[in-house]
């Protein structure tokens, strides 16, 4: 039965329709795989009873010919998405044992379409991190290892549990969120496909907020097609999120296999960093050649403000986080530390409940928004953000359909290897992905090759607003050329 876990969503959909296996069998295979892979720490909560109940319901619907687009497909859900009556913590001690009395819009749409909840996935605390090391449940292990080495590597972050679970066949796909690269960087580190849709494409309602003008939900899956299938269910207008956009959701899967002939692909010169590893350079030019061979035209483009995206992000994101996280006060939910007056109660609860990275960001955010510093930091950063967005707009106005870049500056690294002395060292992981969040654009990371140590590397495609379809078409071309990569099972 274990081979059921290696199917893609598209293959499982076929197998369920042709009655080769049942949704219950498919779910049971995944539950067994999860149990055998606890060493990876990908799940922070397993929900086997709920999973079997949902799978049985899916089987009944499939038998009656009423199965939805995801009927019986078992998924993992990042612990940032509120799930009704199921513990949701954002992997923070401050949310300890929070049981939401409501369901996030994105997950409710997945259940509407018949998907099965396997459990909640690990992530960096409040999605702040690039290695999944800041989770209060401890780090996640990447199923990938360097050739001939037993060193434990990070799966990237913040959606590290999602990426690790998808790569290790512990779910067929997973939800994730991306504020500065949190879908695309872990996807690149685990040879999975991850897409951050255009800001406004997926409802943020019921997702624990980090930085509201940057956060966006998206899927992580094993193929471009599977990511497209999940996207269709996750996307859509929601009156409960005023930034959610009221435009029709296309059939993203129809974009898979569509010709990319004549498309203009921008290669931005500012992404060619000094000291960039040769293997990243090589991967990037290989990817460009694959797209060219498929009929696309390569054009060099310039995005002059690229280098300012990461510093501007580290003003905007902490500022918004400090304001969003003000709600954790020990009064309405979450951790409360006893104290003799209310101010001390707030201060002690928040000191005990937030981890180091979250505390650091709340403090820097508080500082840049404080009286006398707002103009110098926050206002300036929001102006720089306008310039970053304009760079992309100028590029698209010249007829460029999408932009090709590396997804990350390196392959996965070891646990405890980065950011110990200087937090900025960790932040540099998002150097290629963060521009996309600052401009609100869609970006996809697809596996494209391996480094000299046998670790996966990914390429990123950046698209025009609400043109995720082009990213799926181009992503598929890279997937066809590069092939798929599976982590050898050692756990």
């Amino acid at each position: 039965m274990t081979d059921l876990t290696s199917l893609t969503i598209a293959e499982a959909r076929e197998g369920l329709a042709s009655k080769s296996f049942t949704a219950v069998e498919l779910t049971d295979a995944h539950l067994a795989a999860i149990e055998a892979a606890r060493v990876l720490n990908a799940y922070v909560l397993e929900t086997p009873d709920r999973a079997r109940e949902m799978a049985r319901a899916a089987d009944e619907k499939i038998a009656k010919g009423e199965g939805g687009p995801l009927a019986g497909i078992p998924l993992g859900i990042k612990d940032l998405f509120a799930t009704r009556d199921i513990r949701t913590t954002a992997c923070s001690k401050i949310l300890g044992n929070f049981i939401p009395p409501y369901e996030s819009t994105v997950t409710s749409q997945l259940w509407r379409d018949g998907a099965v909840l396997l459990g909640k996935l690990n992530n960096d605390e409040f999605a702040m991190g690039s290695s999944n090391e800041t989770s209060c449940f401890g780090p996640v292990t990447n199923p990938w290892r360097r050739e001939g080495s037993n060193t434990t590597l990070v799966p990237g972050g913040s959606s590290g549990g999602s990426a690790s679970a998808v790569a290790a066949l512990l779910c067929m796909g997973a939800t994730a969120t991306d504020t500065g690269g949190s879908i695309r960087q872990p996807a690149a580190f685990t040879a999975t496909v991850g897409i951050k849709p255009t800001y406004g494409r997926c409802s943020r309602w019921g997702i624990v907020a980090f930085a509201s003008s940057l956060d966006q939900a998206g899927p992580i899956a094993r193929t471009t097609r599977d990511a497209a299938i999940l996207m269709r269910s996750m996307a859509g207008h929601d009156p409960k999120d005023t930034t959610s956009v009221d435009i029709a959701v296309p059939d993203y899967e129809a974009a898979i296999g569509k010709s990319v002939k004549g498309m203009k692909i921008g290669i931005p010169r500012e992404y060619r960093l000094d000291g960039m590893p040769a293997e990243i350079e090589k991967l990037w030019s290989e990817g460009a050649q694959w797209l060219k061979a498929a009929g696309a035209e390569l054009v060099e483009v310039s995005l002059p403000h690229t280098k300012y995206a990461l510093p501007a992000y580290y003003i905007v994101a902490p500022a918004e986080a400090s304001s969003n996280l003000a709600r954790y006060d020990g009064v309405r939910y979450g951790l409360r530390e006893p104290a003799k007056n209310i101010i001390e109660m707030y201060e002690n609860s928040r000191a005990d409940g937030f981890g180091d990275e979250v505390r650091r960001r709340v403090l820097i955010g508080t500082y840049v928004l404080s009286a006398g510093y707002y103009d110098a930091y926050y206002l300036r950063a929001q102006k720089v953000r306008t310039l970053i967005k304009k760079d992309f707009e100028d590029c698209f106005a010249k007829g460029v359909n999408a932009i090709l870049t590396p997804a990350t500056p390196s392959a996965a690294f070891g646990i405890g290897e980065k950011g110990g002395a200087d937090p900025v060292e960790m932040y540099l992981n998002d150097i290629f992905t963060v521009t996309v969040n600052m401009a609100g654009l869609p970006g996809i990371a697809v596996p494209a090759g391996k480094d000299t140590q046998g670790l996966p590397l990914g390429l990123q495609l950046i698209g025009r607003p609400f043109d995720e379809e082009t990213l799926f078409s181009l992503g598929e071309v890279i997937e066809q050329a590069a092939g798929r990569f599976a982590a050898p099972k050692w756990w």
Binding site: D246, V331, K340, N341, F354, S370, Q382
Partner: protein, 95 residues
């Protein structure tokens, strides 16, 4: 710009996060590393540039001014650390 120990304590109080004296030097170093990193923004010419206020150019939707939710007091207090009769309880604020 950089922050001194007094500023670190002031920010921590504004953020309502208790910080012990022993933690201040360490936090000060980390915050200054972040501030040094974002310092490069000062070289960007932002004359006449509008700050970004909306990621996607769109008009803010407004819902009809009607009651469409409520009567869920049990749900609201369900996760409270301390509650009584649908009220949240906190340490005494008014003498």
């Amino acid at each position: 710009m950089s922050v001194d120990a007094t500023t670190v304590r002031r920010i921590a109080h504004l953020a309502r996060i208790a910080v012990s004296d022993a933690e201040v030097p360490h936090l000060q170093g980390e915050l200054n590393a972040m501030l040094a990193f974002v310092e490069q923004l000062s070289e960007v010419n932002i004359d006449g540039v509008e700050p970004m206020t909306s990621v996607t150019p769109m008009e803010m939707k407004k819902r009809a001014d009607v009651v469409n939710d409520g009567e869920i007091a049990d749900d609201i207090v369900r996760n409270a650390p301390d509650a009584m009769n649908h009220f949240f309880l906190v340490p005494k604020v008014v003498e």
